[in-house]
Amino acid sequence: MRLKRTIKKYLKVWYLMTAASFSSFIINRSMSVLLLSGKFLRFIFFLLFLYLLVGQTKALAGFSLNQVVFFFLTFNLIDILVQLFLRGIYKFRSLVVSGDLDLILVRPINVLFRSLACWTDLLDLITIIPLIIFMVIFVAQGKIVFSPIGILLYLLLIVNSFVLALAFHIFVAGIGVITFEVDNAIWLYRDISSMGRIPINVYMEPIRSLLTFVIPIAVLMTFPAKALMGLLSWQWVVFSFVISGVFLFGSLRFWKYALTQYSSASS
């Protein structure tokens, strides 16, 4: 009963924050159009590049053109999902620098939830819908081979990727509390995760191992698509869930430590 009440409270808070952020996008319509155009062009340009490149060479690290395209589509799905719900990290620095984080700390709500989920991006919601439709059509046309268990694993690993991305965002927020510098840390995460636009198998050792075990971009971006195509062994599936759990646990510990360093500057 208490859990139900808590969930209801958080859903209401999220709804209110989302409504506020959506209003902001609607007010700045021309900005929204420009941002949306930029996102669309970025997607199209890289897709065009993949079609040109892999179309010419027929394969990339043993993957066919359609498989490479599906890796890229999955990368976009995960990236947009994360941006959709955790966009608040981009506003986190101003909270810390101005001392406004105090106002969140004293409220009866989880600070991380309030900080990370405070800015639901309407543009990401607009872009994710056609992306999912495109992916469904792409898969339904039989461009890649998959099984029903593959679909289940794919969905589970997408959720797992979100948990892992959440852990990364919590780490970045913690760094922000300690150093007052968030902007480049979150962009660094974006750049490292962008290495998952292509399957991690493309990278040579030791970078491949680094992207699998140390900064698990392989788990974040490559493994879900591999699972759908039946190219991921059960050991790697277990590894994916374990490493996400470890990262989430570690990030929460780090966050707690970071809060002890918060100096409430400028407040």
Binding site: L34, F45, D183, L188, D191
Partner: protein, 266 residues
């Protein structure tokens, strides 16, 4: 002149204040390089020539893109729109300083700082990766490359500054959206992701009319010796044309912008 030298020094000091941010920015440029580098490397595992490029040529191109990101694309002028929108421009209008020269000085500082770090990073990565590279021996081509890089840096500065002036008419956050779109277009149309001549011929010819392809693709092709002397001169003329057009547009937009500027936020 000394006041602009002071701006260069101040910009240096800004970087030293936010050291972690700067280090992360440098790491980001390395990651962007590695993504494209390994992608092309794996392509050449089973191919000798792709799109008319040999392995050494394409890896030199990728490394060259990294250099030109530091020398040409690195700019501080993305702050122009914000200053106008916040009304901070008033502070400069009251001072005996040229706003465009002020930002140009900041850009010079930015490029010096970036290239200094780039040399160290590139030396380490070349030592670790040992890629086959093309070393141009023709001094004339090297000279043309250097000239085209200087013109490209001026071109990018002009384009980016002009975009920032858009904030005179859009003092809300629209200028942020246009900057985002500009950066995406710039990355692709300049040849930052791949050499533009792999595109279909009609698209490639169209892109050669626009100024973007002269920021990265053109200087690197001059260096690689893929252009004839006539093509090099044609390219330099197009760059000169765009510089004149952009310079004229900046003057016009600046004068008209000042007429509508109301120092909102101050």
């Amino acid at each position: 002149m000394s006041k602009y030298f002071q701006v260069v020094r101040n910009t240096f000091q800004e970087y030293l204040v936010y050291r972690l941010n700067f280090i992360m920015w440098r790491v980001r440029t390395i990651i962007q390089f590695l993504l494209v580098y390994f992608l092309w490397l794996v392509i050449f595992q089973n191919n000798q020539v792709v799109f008319g490029y040999e392995k050494a040529q394409i890896l030199t191109y990728i490394l060259g893109v990294w250099v030109l990101r530091a020398l040409v694309l690195a700019t501080r002028t993305d702050g122009v729109g914000g200053e106008i929108a916040r009304g901070d421009l008033s502070l400069y209008l009251l001072r005996p300083i040229s706003y465009i020269k002020y930002w140009f000085s900041r850009d010079i500082s930015d490029k010096i700082f970036n290239i200094g770090f780039f040399i160290v990073e590139a030396a380490i990565l070349i030592f670790l990766l040992r890629p086959p590279l093309v070393f141009q021996a023709n001094l004339l081509l090297i000279l043309f490359t250097l000239v085209s890089i200087v013109l490209a840096a001026l071109l990018l500065f002009g384009l980016s500054f002009l975009l920032g002036l858009h904030a005179f008419w859009a003092p809300e956050s629209e200028w942020g959206g246009s900057r985002f779109l500009f950066n995406i277009v710039l990355e692709f149309l300049s040849g930052g992701l791949f050499p533009l001549d792999i595109l279909p011929a009609f698209l490639f010819k169209f892109l050669q009319i626009l100024p973007f392809s002269y920021l990265i693709f053109f200087p690197l092709n001059v260096y690689l010796g893929k252009l004839t002397t006539v093509q090099i001169f044609q390219g330099l003329v197009v760059m000169g044309f765009w510089l004149i057009v952009i310079n004229w547009a900046i003057r016009l937009v600046w004068q008209r912008g000042l007429k509508v500027y109301s120092a909102v936020g101050r």
